[in-house]
């Protein structure tokens, strides 16, 4: 399988006054198309920073980030925006939904970016929220909100989805439902998934697990097979 993303010798330094903090220290990784890669690590390991730089939400200090051979680390703001529009989807721990819009409209926000016409109701149905179509965010539980977020991200059919602690604010049952949605999206649509988490159980749903600590990749492990999200140990 070809590499969709290649991360080559990436450094990220945060300057705090006169002191520099090395958040990423010579990180290299490649991600194949259609893969689910889980980045695992404790708090402060640099996993979220890695996610942010790979997805273009933050700039690197040194190195390359190649998407199908093109170095996106050099992209200017408007080009990066266009790139994200065409290729990337995001799911956040805090959902980041628009509370003044209902479920349908939140998904529409994502769908409006795609060129092809999208059946929004079908996407909402995919994430099991058909009954909640007209509801506002304050009327939904955490898990339901996260599924809205997934639907919004999928609505524009991205080639890569970045998920930053997608179950961080959820209980086990709800978290597993969300993970199930992600896996189904990957299997049905072929969307490459990069999931950041501190929960080792979640690592089992992916194709590969990348362990990070202190800004470095400690280990990259291939999973023999993906585990069903319902069966994974939690925590």
């Amino acid at each position: 399988m070809e590499n969709l993303i290649e991360i080559q010798n990436v450094y990220k330094t945060y300057q705090l006054g006169k002191v520099g903090s090395q958040a990423l220290n010579d990180v290299s990784l490649s991600v194949r198309k259609g893969e689910i890669v889980v980045i695992l690590g404790p708090s402060g390991s640099g996993k979220t920073t890695l996610l942010n730089v790979v997805s273009g939400l933050d700039k690197i200090s040194k190195g390359k980030i190649l998407y199908q051979g093109k170095n996106i680390a050099k992209y200017r703001d408007y080009k990066m925006t266009r790139f994200r529009k065409k290729n990337l989807g995001f799911i956040f721990q805090t959902y980041n939904l628009l509370e003044h819009l209902n479920v349908y409209e939140n998904v529409l926000v994502g769908a409006s970016l795609g060129k092809a016409k999208v059946d929004i109701d079908s996407i909402i149905d995919t994430v099991g929220l058909k009954k909640h179509r007209k509801k506002y965010m304050y009327q939904l539980s955490g898990g339901e909100q996260q599924r809205v977020s997934i639907a919004r991200a999928l609505a524009k059919n991205p080639s890569v989805m970045f998920c930053d602690e997608p179950t961080g604010a959820l209980d086990e049952k709800t978290g597993k439902v969300v993970l199930q949605s992600l896996v189904e999206a990957n299997e049905k649509l072929g969307t490459t998934m990069i999931i950041v988490t501190h929960n080792p159980g979640i690592a089992l749903i992916g194709d590969r697990t990348v362990r990070m600590n202190s800004g470095k990749i400690m280990e990259i492990k291939e999973n023999e097979k993906r585990m069903n999200p319902v069966e994974i140990p939690w925590g």
Binding site: T81, R84, K86, V109
Partner: protein, 855 residues
């Protein structure tokens, strides 16, 4: 609690722009308030004591000598031996005719008016007036003095000469520096004029070739506003002067005489020299409007009239009061406008902080802290804003009051009180904003903190969409997604929307104020001179006669002031006239329809003069129209002496001062019993009227005064430049304020939607699209608020002007053209979008990942 307080203090640093906006507005409002009031205090304190010390007149009167009854044959003989020694043959013949009249009276208006002019020309009327006044002074308890002056025109300079009379009791001259003149060639002048013309005590001052030595600087207390000539109605320090000379020197001065009678009551009048006429509140036996007013009661005497220049004279004395009133009013309005805007901004900051800290607040409440103490921690914003802004504003105001006082003194001749530090202004500068801003923001914080702890602690408790928003969203669902997104976001927080709209409205008020103010005086000048095509207005001291077509080089005009007695509408129903209006004179002007130097223009600039073909037609001015609520077709009934005159309204002229009406001259002359084609005024462009020297003796003796309209316009425009200078300063300040307010609004809009903006950017929305969907959501509301501010500001200005001018009859045309309004709107929106762009640039510097994090 400490935590919240610390957070609030930290928040000050994050809200730099907003806090700077509050501090700036408090500072500016206080600077204007303290500066204006301090300057006015210095003038006002001294002004009233000055009036008392110099024994300024209580009233200026004229005496109406009835030449049909008040002159006996023996009086005439006496005058023939004394005052009338050097009359011309023609004048002598007239006096003989008058003798015949006295022996066998047959009322002849024309002859009596001519006799009056003759008596006044040779000052034979003084004795008659003295006799009348002496017969009244015991009953009305007054003393009086005849006031004399001569106006001299030397090149572009106008000088009012006054004789120095040491024993003068009323309107005593005030010595500023040096000494009063004693010798024939000594003179005392205005200190401001001396400064502008680089003159000092000891220098030679030349007027019309006559050399004087300046011995002192002095003021005349009945010339506090030194209106010397209507040709130069706005005091020009450089070209207008009051010159005090000895009696001998005064007799030699050749100039236009202006005599009047100053009256001083021997009982305390306790008046502040108002120019309004007080009116009795109950019906009295004689129904006089002056019956209850001991000061004005003397006007009940049919011999005593308000001097036709009384408004001018009292205006000269009391005009400064209008400055006090108007400047204080302006300072108060300005203060409250800016404080209102500051309150709105503080409300936004407080709300944002409470929203952001709701979890902490929820914890505090669940621990047992009440919302009163929690709300108190948010007082740091108004307290800091008021303290810093108030102190700075006070200091700036104290410094600024010096130039403000000097500007006022460039128009008025009154001594200035020494500056005394008034700490009450400091406490007002700090505590007024502190109390008003703190109280309001405290109450609002209390309201916002009303939720129960659990509700605050619940995740997403701030995400609720209120009922109104849901209703709006339902309506929105009919529209394309782009609009739905925008307007559901706009209506998401009604409070925020209201604040942005109100703040925009206040900003609009400032912009409209600037636009109207920048053009107001120019507009007034244009309107005033719009129908005038003559250079010289020549006012005669008596009636003369000329047929309309006799000369082509001038227009002949008949001017008479008469009281309006009755108004009837088209159907013959009587329209009521207010009691106080009954005695106020209506200025009637008789014009020929062939007039070539004057046009009677209406608001649309149509010339209405042809309507005077009808002998019964009258065209009244806009001011009279508003005062009497007149319509075309109404009938106006005047009574002049014993003569009734009725005219029908056919149109309205665009003139805003006084109450005036235009009538066909021939008809008016006949109606008044003056015979055919009488006139009192000439409108002409003939060069001979440039100076009295160019006129033949006969014509010169007929003339009371000549107004040079070009000089008048030049004087007004030149002085307006000074006003315009002040206006430009106000415009600059207002523009800065507008920019500050808009920056604050823009900053708030960007900050409030930071997460939404960042999220859309992350998702891949372009900047332009994001601006359209998020940042421009308030644009329609800003436009509507601005449009509403236009009639609001026009209404406010009209109310302020009416409050200031009171009974002075003036309708100032406060308008704004659609183009100017459009310019204001464009300016507002451009400033708004620039401010949005700048705020966004700050946001763009924050990495998206950071921007999306929960605060």
């Amino acid at each position: 609690m400490k935590l919240l307080l610390l957070n609030a203090i930290k928040g000050l640093r994050k809200k730099k722009i907003q806090m700077a906006g509050i501090i700036f507005m408090v500072m500016l409002s206080m600077a204007v308030y303290v500066g204006m009031n301090s300057a006015i205090d210095r003038l006002e304190t001294r002004y009233y004591s000055y009036l008392e010390e110099q024994n300024v007149e209580d009233l200026s009167i004229g005496v109406a000598v009835d030449y049909s009854k008040d002159v006996s044959l023996s009086d005439l003989d006496y005058f023939l031996e004394h005052q009338f020694q050097n009359v011309t043959e023609e004048e002598h013949a007239l006096l003989e005719q008058y003798r015949l009249y006295l022996e066998n009276p047959v009322y002849d208006v024309k002859m009596l008016y001519t006799i009056q002019s003759l008596f006044e020309k040779y000052e034979a009327d003084i004795d008659l007036k003295t006799r009348i006044l002496d017969s009244l002074k015991e009953e009305y308890q007054f003393v009086y003095e005849f006031e004399r002056s001569k106006t001299v025109s030397d090149d572009k300079k106008l000088i009012k000469f006054l004789p120095y009379e040491e024993n003068n009791q009323i309107n005593q001259l005030y010595l500023v520096e040096g000494a009063f003149p004693k010798g024939e060639n000594e003179i005392a002048i205005l200190s401001g004029y001396a400064k502008k013309n680089h003159l000092k005590i000891g220098d030679t001052y030349t007027v019309l070739g006559e050399n004087y030595t300046i011995v002192g600087f002095a003021y005349a207390p009945d010339y506090i506003y030194p209106l010397i000539s209507f040709s130069m109605p706005i005091f020009d320090e450089t070209n207008n002067n009051i010159a005090i000379v000895s009696e001998t020197a005064y007799q030699k001065v050749v100039g236009v005489k202006d005599n009047s009678i100053a009256l001083d009551y021997q009982f305390p009048t306790n008046r502040k020299f108002e120019i309004t006429v007080s009116v009795g509140t109950e019906e009295t036996e004689n129904n006089s409007p002056f019956a209850d007013d001991p000061v004005m009661r003397i006007l009940d005497e049919d011999k005593v009239v308000m001097d036709i220049n009384t408004i001018t004279r009292l205006g000269r004395i009391s005009a400064l009061q209008m400055e006090f009133a108007s400047n204080r009013l302006f300072a108060e309005c300005f203060l409250y406008l800016l404080l209102t805007i500051s309150v709105l901004i503080i409300v936004i900051i407080t709300k944002k902080r409470i929203d952001d800290e709701r979890l902490q607040i929820g914890v505090l409440k669940s621990l047992g802290y009440n919302r009163f103490s929690i709300a108190a921690s948010y007082l740091v914003y108004p307290i800091v804003g008021s303290l810093v802004g108030g102190i700075l504003g006070y200091i700036i105001g104290i410094i600024a009051h010096y130039p403000i006082a000097n500007v006022l003194l460039s128009f008025y001749t009154v001594p200035l009180e020494n500056y005394q530090l008034d700490l009450s202004y400091l406490s007002k500068a700090i505590f007024t904003p502190m109390i008003s801003l703190s109280l309001l923001s405290y109450l609002i914080a209390l309201f916002m903190l009303r939720k129960k702890p659990l509700a605050l602690l619940k995740e997403g408790s701030n995400l609720k969409v209120n009922l109104f928003s849901r209703i709006v969203n339902k309506i929105n669902s009919l529209f394309p997604f782009h609009y739905r997104f925008k307007y559901s976001l706009a209506f998401r927080s009604l409070g925020k929307l209201l604040i942005v709209t109100i703040t925009s409205f206040c900003t609009g008020l400032l912009i409209v104020l600037v636009l109207i103010g920048s053009n107001l005086f120019n507009h007034m000048i244009e309107e005033s001179f719009a129908g005038i095509d003559y250079r010289y207005l020549v006012m005669l001291g008596q009636f003369d006669y000329k047929d309309a077509n006799e000369y082509e080089e001038a227009d002949y005009v008949l001017s008479v002031s008469v009281p309006l007695k009755e108004i009837k509408d088209k159907n013959g129903n009587i329209k009521p006239i207010e009691k106080e209006d009954e005695e106020i004179q209506f200025a009637l002007t008789g014009l020929d329809t062939t007039a070539q130097y004057v046009r009677i223009l209406d608001k649309e600039e149509h010339n209405l003069i042809d309507r005077l073909d009808d002998d019964e037609a009258i065209i009244v001015n806009e001011n009279a129209k508003e005062l009497y609520n007149l319509e075309v077709g109404d009938q106006l009934h005047f009574v002049y002496e014993t003569i009734d005159m009725t005219y029908t309204v056919v149109g309205f002229s665009s003139e805003f001062m006084g109450r005036s009406g235009y009538i066909n001259r021939e008809a008016m002359s006949t109606d008044l019993g003056l015979g055919n084609n009488a006139y009192t005024t000439i409108y002409s462009n003939q060069e001979k009227y440039e100076s009295y020297k160019n006129l033949d003796a006969e014509e010169a003796t007929k003339i009371a005064y000549i107004l040079n309209m070009n000089d008048m316009r030049e004087n007004i425009e030149k002085q307006m430049d000074r006003f315009n200078g002040s206006i430009y300063i106000v415009i600059a300040f207002a523009s800065i304020m507008v920019l500050v307010i808009i920056s604050v609004i823009a900053n708030i809009v960007v900050e409030e939607n930071k997460k939404t903006i960042s999220l859309l950017k992350v998702m891949g929305y372009k900047n332009r699209k994001i601006s359209s969907m998020v940042l421009n959501i308030y644009t329609p509301f800003i436009i509507v608020a601005y449009l509403l501010s236009i009639p609001a500001m026009i209404g406010i200005l009209k109310a302020i002007v009416n409050a200031i001018v009171g009974d002075i009859e003036i309708t100032i045309p406060i308008t704004i053209s659609p183009i100017m309004a459009g310019i204001g709107l464009v300016g507002l929106l451009v400033a708004y979008y620039i401010a949005i762009g700048l705020s966004k640039r700050v946001l763009n510097k924050v990495p998206l990942a950071v921007a999306l994090k929960r605060e």
